[in-house]
Amino acid sequence: MMKKKMRVLASVFALSMALTTLSACGGKDDKAANVDDPNAKDTITALLPPVSANFQSNFDQMAKEFNEKYPNLTLKIEPASWEDMTQKLDTQVNAGSPPDIAFMGSDGISKYVQQGMLMDISDTATEEMLKDYDAAPLEYMKNGKGLYGFPAYMEVHAIGGNKEFMEKAGIDYKKVQKEGWTFDEFREAIKKGVVTENGKTSRYGFVFATAGVTSKDYLGILVKSAGMPSPFTQDLKYAYTSKNFLEVLKDIRVMIDDGSMPKELSSIDAGKRWNMFLTGQTMITGKGLAGFERSAKLNNEKLKNKDASAVKGSIPVDYVVLPVPSFAGAKAQSSVAVDGYVTFRGKKEPTAAHKANVVKAANFLSSGKIAATTNNELFVAQITESGRKAAESMPVDRDPDNKAAVETMLKAAVPARPDIPTDLGAKAIKLEDEVIVPKLQALIAGEITPEAMYEAVRTAAVDAFGEDGVVKD
């Protein structure tokens, strides 16, 4: 009797295990309105990371306000950490069931366009909506003729300095903020920032995060001010075979050889260099984002209050926004990151009503009060009229010189290139990941010369784009 009972119990257990496993494969797509009725009830899903410190804690409020504005619509927000965001999104995209909206960098748009998983909203976004956005960031959300979402902000990739150290080194940072600087001027300035004690460097002039993928940022930001605002010229020739590219590589190496940058630069990641900045181990750091002023201020406050959570060994720092120097006599152009709410589609063709609802949600998230609050928290400029209006009543404790410097750099922002075909863009990304970044790491580590790296990039570019597909100057 007992034996029989045990068998039954075991089989129930085994069956429930199998069913649990199988149930993971099930699922129903109940979000899309099947009826093409603009007033029908519909749910819009959004996968959103912690864009700013309080962004995710406001999700319930956002959903409530959206529902008040559009009573037939429900905004269902799924939070994700920055670390999980790409993996979560990619998994959902490749399974053919992405969220309707995801917050991501506009540089990822071409990848998803190639997959056929983005929803072109150019025919659905109304004139009134489009007029609200500044033209430059809106262009970043385009690919070819398609519009694939709305921008949230356009952030300048700058560098940042320690005001006290720069003043001690006799650097007129206010002039630099207004007029910019050439590489030669920058090189002399960072040399002055180096402090040596007992034959050992206790402070470097400049430290930029270059470990792993951050090296991509480093080179990408510098080459924009060397006459190469995009990997492709206007006539779609690959630009990094230009002689100016070699000049930038030489300059990268010379800053390490001067002793202005650490010889271990290739292993310094984003966290480490920010720690070095706050602990006074470097005068200037990169990449610098506007929000770093806020982080530095927060740490200063903690130090003042003797809060144990202040960065260990840190000193009070006044963060100064600085432009990236220009190279090889070229015009300085600011590298920008435009992030926004990108619109996706599933395997099924979305109905016109659902598409319109997704557009309403993306517009709601990227403009007005939500955009104003988020961008203020990030210390980035408002890029919508409605956002600017909503931000008027929100006080921001921001250094006016830094604010003006960012605005000056935004005026020289690199324009978007929606004309670059996705397959060409994909080839350039692969070349960057498989040749440029590894070779740059070797260059920074002192294992290859700038000329050797340039030659490797040139050879790979000719392989990928052909002799006629690359710049020859």
């Binding site: 068998r7 075991a10 089989s11 085994a14 069956l15 295990m17 199998a18 496993t21 199988l22 494969c25 993996q87 990619d90 995209v93 490749n94 399974a95 053919g96 990848k111 190639q114 997959q115 056929g116 998983m117 050992k200 470990a211 792993g212 993928v213 650490p262 010889k263 271990e264 630069l265 290739s266 292993s267 310094i268 480490k272 395997k347 994909a426 990304i429 692969k430 990941d433 498989e434 970044v437 590894p438 070779k439 790491q441 070797a442 920074i444 580590a445 002192g446 294992e447 290859i448």
Partner: protein, 300 residues
Amino acid sequence: MTEYAKPIKRRKIKGDAAWGYAFIAVALLVFAMFTLYPVISALIISFQKYKPIGSEFVGFENYTETFKDKLFWKAIVNTVVYTVLTVPVSLLLSFAVSIMILPLKKKMQTVFKAVYYLPAVASGVALSLVWLWIFDPMPVGIFNKVTSFFGLGTHNWLGSSAYAMFSLVLMAWLSSHGTSIIIYLAALLGIDGSYYEAAELDGASFFQKLWYIVVPCLKPTTLFLLVTGVIGSFQVFQNAYLMTGGGPDNATTMVGLLIFNNAFKYFEFGKAAAQSLVLAAIIAVISFIQFKFLGKDVEY
């Protein structure tokens, strides 16, 4: 008379056999869903340019591209180097630790087993963060402090081609022996005590007992750990992904990382599937060779 047309007896599955099949069915179902189905899918995808909407058949293109890809072969070489440097040393270390734990009392054995097994339980990401801290390239880094103390200077452990692979190998040498130690200990405890008694009567030394009794008796265990170790090492991904990202200059790009990048960074699932299957074939050949040459006199 020959029995050509013997009537087929329909076997009735009943009693214990029926229950046996029922339980096996669960395992088979899970295997079919999570192993067999993905493998068959990978095979199909390897002949496609995969897209969530509208994949296209491209024949052997993904395979020919893989064989022409210099980075793939560099990744294979890196993986082989990593395997050759890590697996034998790890086996030797596990064996040595097991021998040292064996004479201890049961309680102490358990304590050491738990201590050595702890890294296997801890999150790989957390461990990598600790190792990143140990390999800090600045003079304040732990390893740099040690090497400086011995007058060997400081090194850019993960940032230079000369040290990056060695750093990953060192990381493997100094961690993750828990499973092997437990398996070796179990095998050591299974050796009949009479062998040692007989050897002692003959006046055998410790090393003679080790060589003539322990090593042959542990051969099946060693072969098992070697084969699974090589397979695991060929599939290594996490360390390179978290510690070096495959750099510098692809010096630590392993096949696992390359496949991951192709699939999840570039969305080239077809190429990634083809590379996975090539890797599976390489692993199968190596495992076959190991069994063929090392498993001759192994009895199970």
